[in-house]
Symmetry: C2
Subunit: 488 residues, 2 copies
């Protein structure tokens, strides 16, 4: 419900703004269990649209969905040495079931490599059984100490892709392909530009050969790791005896990849597009794209306005030109609430377009169309309103991406940057493209001193035309250009 | 992968047939965790289509989706006395998290009434906030001792609807409406006829005022409870202080309903339509509706047949008359496998239609169409194949429902039935519509002596025209006509 208290402005306290917005826009709420969130319909509606879009992309690239158990025998987690080191400290453990103590405790999955590859091992005998291209939509649990709604919660929803291949190169191509799918989704649907690249050894997934990531820049200049894709090599195949007979008759271990994105992306959406008035949802992901607000003062106008609003909704929903997806339209017929209060509430919730419809509008066969991001108003004829809405929604989707891209470019620093200047930038917020000698000790030192981490060794298209040749910290020859930022 | 061993016939051992079919059709597999299953793509694809169809029906009746935490504080379960009695013995309990023992253990949700109504209590103040019409797609865990794939597993996937209303009558109408939605889905999509009605006091949901259910008859004459809908009264509202200010200014407790169906329905699908050759999936729920098998003997034919098969697939997938959903077509291009082995495998997996396409078919611009349920073959022209396929799929969907309905009618026994005859029927399999004096002791006695339970007090349309006036067991005046059966 609307609350007339203004949000803390972003410039005053970005973190307070974020928390207030998520609650006020009814995206999520705190639950009675520490660190677990409730995803409310306005947030879950976004997740549903994310799921649908991603699922279509996964299927178009040949993947099928399956479901594996929530519980993992504790011993399974221990079969891959790096994996257990990374995940064991943050697991939730079931010790009792059906009133009795269990012989072997069960871990609530923090991720499903171990259980899935143990099943793959059962199903794969020959190279003919490969590749296996699986995806799972599921909840996972990681025992986090400091939680934030969507960004870091003990339980979250995600998808985890898991594949098995006959060769390293096939697995590498798959990991790369899915990183590309994520990027397409984040830019095309979320209107959130990302930098893609490879994680350093110290930042890679526990048990992976190589980890690739999509890193987005939030409005405060901090990075959000929005999706990762891992070439797992043969690490898990060896741990779980996932073997196959090759075409030439030899027995070999398979090569795996895994890749995932989660409800964390909704937090990214908030921090990419939200403003001091609340949520701004990109049209393609909005549970409601258009809200119609009937306006009346005199009681005798009410029936007429309600009827016109309802007729308009019907026309828009069945609007033929919009295929395959119908326009998602809501009419706010609540009584005892001023139009202003309704505007405020729907703005807070992030609905992309508002239609204001009063008796005089109806008389002139028109209505007022208001865009959520720019708050620009235009008066449009009811005869062409379908086209106007579609055009405005498309424009808004494109504009949101451009604005986010401009902001990312403006706050990305390249060229010769001293370590002192670097520290200033990290305090102000932004990405720094700097030379690095490749030494993990230097990486650890910078993290210790500035809280910044290497987000990625960027892919070619993101590298500077004139990349630094010296390490920013040591002045030694640079092995890579890397992207530094503080991160969520 | 195909396995040339025949399934145990249903007539020999229905239970062995079921287990073998589920594994052989790759619907599900056993997991390393006792009682938990892996849902394989051929089974999960059915679940995805079930989800999509039900979700559309829920939204069409005004419901929204949300997500609530997996973990429930143990104390919450204890707030509703009957509820804890019903569910506490079968919970999985998390006692450790992040390497430490928890102050209060967390229960893995067996169902979410307690956590959801505690949140509703936070969100609802006034009658204007009602009704809340929520649904959640989630996994739940119930510590079962004897498990069967799909039918009874420790973890399963389901949807749980949870609503809050201002009056008893509104809640009652909602519980009834959702029972109707379930019935429409089971008959319309699953081709599985059901008897609907009310559960007796001893069979109702722990914490409910009234429970309604859809009961289906499996091929062995046993009942499967396929979906339930509960009017929870004010029991949970009182336990969680879910209160609102009414229009007249008084403070009242809300009225709740909950309703759910689960992956158990896939087991129902198997036992309703499966045959001694394997799975038979109703076309509307089939992950693949049509499989094209190119046939060639000589190597020089291969390219031609592959190309024709691929062209046919393209034509069928883009077939314009099929809107909004496209035909789900797969071409089996595997080499080193005879056509016969492929037929066998796709039959086992339950694909509704098979198209056989060889060089001679191509020369005569035709192919052979084989229906999975009847195994009837017809030769059809490639010019009209779209229409032929659509017609055959529609016919198959209708025929499956008719066949199941005939079987249910044939194995439902009405009129004056002695308790001795009743016992014979229960041993052979079937539903008995009998008079009952309403005494729970009689109900318990019959259960003890015959393992049969009262499935429902049937809704009016299912009652016998000439309902028994005497209790089958005691001869006393009957209070209700009830449906007895052994059940899964």
């Amino acid at each position: 419900m609307a609350d007339d208290k203004k949000l803390t402005p972003r410039a005053t306290d970005f973190s307070a703004w974020y928390n207030e917005l998520v609650l006020r826009a009814e995206l999520a709420d705190y639950s009675p269990v520490r660190g677990c969130m409730v995803i409310r319909p306005n947030g879950y509606g976004i997740w549903e649209r994310m799921q649908r879009a991603l699922d279509d992309m996964f299927k178009a690239t040949g993947h099928v969905n399956a479901y594996f158990p929530l519980f993992i025998p504790e011993s399974y987690l221990h079969k891959e040495a790096q994996h257990v080191e990374g995940f064991a400290p943050e697991t939730a453990v079931v010790t009792h079931g059906g009133g009795k103590q269990l012989e072997e405790p069960l871990v609530v999955r923090p991720t499903s490599e171990t259980i899935i590859y143990s099943m793959f091992a059962k199903w794969v005998q020959s190279y003919r059984d490969l590749p296996l291209l699986y995806n799972q939509w599921a909840n996972v649990v990681r025992w986090e100490m400091r939680t934030r709604l969507f960004l870091r919660t003990m339980e979250f929803l995600w998808q985890e892709g898991h594949t098995a291949h006959a060769t390293h190169d096939e697995a590498e191509a798959e990991a790369r392909q899915m990183l590309g799918v994520y990027r397409d989704f984040m830019e095309g649907w979320m209107a959130m530009p990302v930098v893609t690249g490879q994680k350093t050894e110290s930042e890679k997934f526990a048990g992976a050969l190589r980890t690739y990531a999509c890193e987005a820049m939030m409005q405060d200049g901090k990075a959000l790791q929005a999706g990762t894709s891992h070439n797992l090599g043969q690490n898990f195949a060896k741990a779980f005896e996932l073997k196959f007979q090759s075409e030439s008759g030899t027995i070999e271990h398979a090569w795996n990849t895994s890749w995932g994105v989660s409800t964390r992306m909704i937090g990214g959406l908030v921090m990419t597009h939200g403003d001091d008035n609340g949520m701004v949802t990109p049209p393609l992901l909005a549970p409601i794209e258009v809200v119609i607000i009937p306006i009346w003062r005199k009681d005798e106008d009410r029936a007429q306005v309600f009827e016109a609003a309802d007729r308009l909704r019907g026309r828009l929903r069945d609007w033929e030109r919009r295929e395959p997806a119908r326009l998602r339209v809501h009419v706010d017929l609540r009584e005892g609430m001023t139009p202003g209060a309704k505007y405020y509430e729907w703005e807070t919730r992030g609905v992309p377009l508002r239609l204001e419809l009063g008796p005089r509008d109806i008389a002139s066969n028109q209505c007022v169309l208001v865009r959520r991001d720019t708050r620009a108003k235009q008066t449009v004829s009811l005869d062409t309103i379908g086209e106007d809405i579609e055009e405005t929604l498309e424009k808004m989707q494109t504009d949101l991406l451009s604005a986010a891209r401009d902001r990312m470019d403006k706050n990305s620093y390249r060229g010769d940057i001293t370590y002192d200047r670097f520290k200033e930038i990290m305090d102000a917020g932004g990405f720094v493209y700097a030379g690095w000698n490749g030494d993990p000790k230097v990486e650890a030192q910078v993290k210790e001193e500035t809280k910044a981490t290497i987000r990625v060794i960027p892919d070619e298209e993101f590298r500077s035309a004139d990349a630094p040749t010296r390490c920013m910290v040591t002045g030694e020859p640079a092995k890579h250009e890397v992207v530094w930022a503080r991160a969520y």
